[in-house]
Symmetry: C2
Subunit: 122 residues, 2 copies
DNA sequence: GAGTCTTGACAACGGCATTGATAGGTTTCT
DNA sequence: AGAAACCTATCAATGCCGTTGTCAAGACTC
């Protein structure tokens, strides 16, 4: 590790909204709503175009998992993210053994790594 | 502590559903729903009457706070409870400084103590 | 026996999540 | 330059959820 090439940096903003939306199987509108809700905070080009990093995408996948699979609403997602950030622990990891008893942790958003440090409300 | 009289044991089932409901300002129906959802698990008399302990009431107050004040749905409440139990930490405490900036932690359900160890799905 | 509890069902009400369409305007790419 | 995709903002439809409410038939408690 740590010799990832900079052009593969998971923090690097690369995906435009339509691409990010298709990756996570959601409507672009939905991603904008997540942003309005302060759940994600994608970078912007100098000309204001949203650019999502790999970590942003993973974070959205967490939101999708929590809402679609576990039935949590966006308020609950916010609480969980805030809690993870506040505790400095990757508590979200604990939410997989619990949901999918079929042990498929590979399909996990896997981005619990940085799930906490992303959103900022301006 | 620990010389609480047994007749004041917060685990002792004392409140019948109508009383518990009035204490937490909710409809008895709502308490039954919480139970169906596995969020609470009040004791029963030998003749099947629900009896809520002080801790049960506090737990319901947490549910109310999370849903009414923070907008979390019952699925989110379940996740939070499970997480607290799994981590063995009183993470819910962290949810007050965050919600009420007016610093009124006295009105808190205060029952974070035992919020984790209550529900069991038969 | 009156009142409260039980389960179960059905309904109404408001709210939320998601998707969708629209408008007018800017950016990007060919 | 022109097409395509982006931006913000708004309005709407759809479907599900949370809560309260009521009704029924039956069991329990005082």
């Amino acid at each position: 590790m740590t010799f990832r090439r900079p052009d593969r940096d998971p923090e690097r903003p690369v995906y435009v909204i339509s691409v990010a939306a298709s990756i996570v199987s959601a409507h672009p509108r939905t991603l904008r709503i997540y942003e309005e809700e302060g759940l994600i905070c994608p970078a912007r080009t100098p000309t204001n175009i949203r650019l999502y990093s790999e970590n942003d995408v993973r974070r959205v996948m967490w939101i999708r998992h929590l809402t679609q699979n576990l039935g949590v609403n966006l308020a609950g997602v916010r609480i969980l993210f805030e809690l993870e950030e506040r505790l400095g622990t990757r508590i979200l990891e604990h939410l997989y053994a619990e949901a999918a008893t079929d042990g498929d942790a590979s399909g996990a958003p896997a981005g619990a790594q940085t799930a906490a440090a992303a959103a900022a409300k301006p």
